[in-house]
Structures are given as C-alpha cells and as structure tokens.
Point group: C2
Chain length 322, copies 2
C-alpha cells in the first residue's frame, strides 16, 4: 500500500515504532536475530501500529504506553505471517523470499512463536489488563480462523458467511483491536473506544476483501507473489464464492477449486471464469459497503486531523487497485 | 512418571485443574476441540501445575488465582510439545500418535499457537503483572532454546555449557517459574519465592538430564517412543557429550552423530558406545548434584507437608529409571 502519507499525523511516532522494532529483533541468539530482521526488512505497511497511533491521536490525552502497544501489535502480525507462510507453503511475500524459503519450516515455527512471545512481553509492560485480555482473546480467535481456513480449503460449498468468519478472524479483529486499544491506551471515553473498534472492524473486512480481489486482478509484480495464490492454496475467497453462483461456468469452476494440485492452465482458467461473470465487481460492492460503514463510525469521534486521517485511509483502501 | 501420589497434598486441586483443562479444550471449532482433546487425553504428568500448587501450599495464604495459573502453565507446556513434535517430526509421544501424526503439520502449528494463546487469556485473568512478565519472558527464552537446538543439531563439537543452556530454556525455566509463580500467586515472601524458583530450576535441570539418560537406557515401551530418539533427531545430549570425551570409540561416535539420516545399525552402535564408557553414570552424577542443590533450597521454606512433598519429589526424580 502506497499512500502512507495518509499517516502523516503520526509520522514521528511511526519512526519511533520502527526503531523499537529494529531493537526488538536484536536478540541473544544470532539465528533468531537474522530471521526476525529478515522479516522486518521485508517491509510491510505497519498498518496495525499506524491505526493504534492514529486512534490514540483522536483522544485528548497522550500516553507513553502507546508505542509499546503499537510495537506489540506489529509483532503479533509478523508472528502470524511467519506461521502462515509455513502453513501455506509460501516462498515469496512482498517480492522477497519468506523465512520459510530461506531457513525452512522448523526455524519458521520458532521464529513465529518467538515474535509472539516478545509481543507478550511488551503487552505485559503496557500494565493494562484490558489490553492484555483483548489481545489474548484475539490471538485465540486468529488461530480459530486459521484452523477454519485449513479445514475448509478446496471446499467449493462455502457460503459468504463462512468467508466472513474467516476474514474477520484473520484480519479484521486485529485491525479492530489496534484502533480500539490505541484509544484505550490513551484513556478515551467508552463511546469513542467502541466507535474506533467498529471502524477498525469494518475497515479490516474491506481491507481483506480488497486483498482477496487483488489476488485475481493485480499483476505478479504488484502483488509480490504469483497471481491466484489463494486459489492455488485452496483458499476460497469472496470473488470465487460469488462466481460459483453467478458464472455460467460455475460447475467447471467448482471442479477446479477442488483440485489439490492445480495445473497452471487450470488456475488461469479459474481466474478467467471469476473475472468474466461480474464476481469481482460484486465483491468490490461489498468492500465499499464496509468502507461506508467504517466512515459512518467517525461521527462519534472529535473532529480534527486524526479523525480526518481515518476517513482518508478508508477512502484510500476502497480505491487501491494494487 | 509414576508416583503422582507424591502430590497427594494437592490431590483435590489437581482434579480441579484437570476439569478446567477439559473445559478449556472445548472450543468453538470442532477441529481444534478434537486436536486439543487428543493432546490432553494423551496424558502427561501435569508436573508444572503440580509444582505451582505445591509451591503455593508452602505458603500460609491461599489464592483463587492459583488454579488459573496452574492451567495456564500446562497449556504453555502442551503448546510447546505440539510445536516440538512438528519440528522433531515425531509421530508418537507417550505411546500415542502425536497431533502431527494424526492431523499433519499445518493443523499442529495452529493447535500449538492456539493453546499458547489460551494460556495468555488465563494469565491475563491472573491479574498479576509479575506473573504476566515472568511467563512472557520465559516463553521468549523457551523459543531461543529451541532455535539453539535446531542450530546445533548434528553438531558433535558441543560443550556441556551449550547443553545446559538448551535444557535450561527447554525445561528448567518453566518448572522454575511454576514453583516461583505458585508462591507469588499466594503472596509468599520474597525469600521463599526465590528459594522456590531456585528449587524448580535445579529440579528441572535434573529432570531433563534424567530424561535424556532414559532415552538411552529405557525400553521403547517404557519411553512410549523409539529408544535413541534424540540421537536420531541430531539432538546431542549430556551422555553423548560425555562419551565424546570418555569413550575409546569417540571418533566413531562423532561420525555417527553427524549423520543426518542414520541407519538403524548406526543408532544402535552409538547407543552401545555411550553405554559402555561410563557416560551414563557420569550424567547421573550431574543429575544427582542438581537434586541435592534443589533439596538444599527447601531449608528456606516453612516446614510442613508441602515442603516434605517437594523433598520427596526431588528424591523420586533422582531415582526414576523409566
């Protein structure tokens, strides 16, 4: 995602977060230092820290705990990415080799758990039981979502509801918590905290739907990984679910979805079926409705630069095409 | 480990812990419920909860938080076992198929992370920042130890110090924390907390050394997994390190240690070299010195049934032969 200038309001704090992340990955162990640094340098949008910081800025108060929280959120996200790359057998992410590709599954599993454990350490230092509880709860639900994704892979009988459950667990909950806890850390009022939690949830849903659409519509270069990766891994996303009702070739598509080891031609055929039946446009429609819902929550926040940023970010996500 | 009657003093509380564990593994997700219940029913000594409860009993005060803590400790341990089974490619543990064997690596990774996340949830509910911080710190160090184990596997040039670092991270720290935090949860005095922490550390070291010896001396039936498993996986334990200096066949042993895909005959030959040179006896000597150190810490605790139990447990561990 380009357009991080949208986060100008928190530019200085984001630099502090980046420095803290760099410090954290310097461990006692040379191998863990290397794998964690590789992961950090592979980039990423630092979206979760950014949301926490902007959400915090919508409040009057400031907090020295918010940097800790922001770093912890990114570590949880990074931990989930390393484990995902093992589970999905992914060799590239954002155009770079994954930890799995360079160091193998064993090292990846412990690097992920290690980063997760480091996040706990930071969360404990936030000294706020609400933060600890919400993040523990979300970590549990993220795992439930991932297990659902495995259990339902290559299954062409999924409903939109199944899909929503999965992307909520995988993406929306942590983005929602980032917004919510940024406000909690700054001592915001209950009404504001709840509005930010809902904003993050709706935005997270829109973000993941857009991500899943781009897996069909963007180029390999834009994606930093092969087009149609989800399809190859058996992950059934919203455009496919829509195409399985909309397309005249729905039976052929269902057949391809179920194939465990798809040939390149089959993947391309499925992509073409999905793109030709209006499923992409329908999925964008859903994403846009979530964006509208997200923006609608902003009326509960005090007006100002931070709240404006949140509106811009919502618009940006609805428009990104790569 | 038989001899759980040693824990009679906490029998009722252990039954509560077991019921709580059974409740916890009933999740929203059918697959996670199945994998977690499989893991729970595969048995285990529940050593960490037991230590926390006995340590708590050495104090005057009682605490309703201690059950939560005890369950959380077992969940952390279970989580580490599932991940270890993936990393070590183990198909049986305690004579039962592992989660990896039944459901594969992908499901195992998330089951492990899920159990770890559930433990966080419980730790957050302990509402004690000391407990949160110590367990976060230990989780980090457990991962560091596991990564060291991978990085040093099949390496015959390891020192006793390298080995001690690994077993400290892998086993002793969590047992030490179990004893320490049991006391913390019950509001014990600083001196007592520290003595219990050291007791647990020494006992944990002795426990792991004994475990590593039994991998050579016990039968497959007693172990619930093949004899010489560590050797097969390239994990260099204390008896091997000693044999690499003591044995006239040390060069042959070093050669076998380095082989990645050992033939059955090579494993048996290495076991025989280790057993014939006095390395086993020397390793038992080290374990016994740790046991003595553990027992020596008990003088800082008030006398009573709980403290007596801790002495009995130490003796039991030094004597177990399977």
């Amino acid at each position: 995602m380009k357009g991080l200038e949208l986060f100008n309001v928190i530019k200085n704090d984001m630099e502090i977060v980046e420095r803290e992340l760099k410090k954290i990955v310097k461990t006692h162990d040379p191998l863990l230092t290397e794998t964690s640094a590789h992961l950090l340098n592979a980039g990423g949008k630092r979206l979760r820290p950014a949301f926490a910081l902007v959400a915090g800025r919508t409040c009057e108060a400031k907090s020295d705990k918010i940097i800790c929280l922001a770093v912890a959120l990114e570590l949880i996200h990074m931990a989930s990415l390393v484990h995902d790359d093992v589970v999905d057998a992914s060799y590239t992410r954002r155009g770079m080799p994954t930890v799995k590709a360079n160091w193998g599954d064993q090292v990846s599993i412990y690097t992920g758990t290690y980063l997760f454990a480091r996040s706990l350490d930071l969360i404990a230092r936030c000294d706020n039981p609400v933060i600890s509880r919400i993040l523990a709860d979300i970590s549990v639900r993220m795992c439930e979502g991932e297990i659902r994704q495995i259990a339902t892979s290559y299954d062409s009988d999924q409903t939109v509801k199944d899909y929503f459950f999965r992307i909520k667990s995988k993406t929306a909950l942590l983005i929602s918590a980032s917004c919510e806890l940024g406000a909690v850390a700054c001592g915001a009022q209950e009404r504001q905290v709840k509005a930010l939690s809902r904003y993050g949830y709706y935005l997270g849903m829109a973000f993941q739907i857009t991500d899943d659409i781009l897996d069909f519509t963007a180029s390999q270069q834009e994606l930093g990984k092969p087009v149609g990766s989800d399809l190859r891994q058996g992950i059934v996303t919203l455009p496919v679910i829509f195409a399985l009702t909309l397309s005249p070739d729905r039976e052929r598509l269902a057949g391809i979805v179920k194939i465990k080891d798809k040939k390149e031609g089959e993947v391309l055929e499925a992509i073409s079926i999905v793109k030709q039946c209006g499923a992409i446009e329908k999925a964008y429609g859903v994403a846009n409705r979530y964006i509208e819902k997200a923006k609608n929550e902003l009326k509960y926040l005090p007006s100002g630069r931070a709240t404006d940023s949140l509106a811009f970010i919502a618009d940006f996500i609805s428009k990104r095409r790569y």
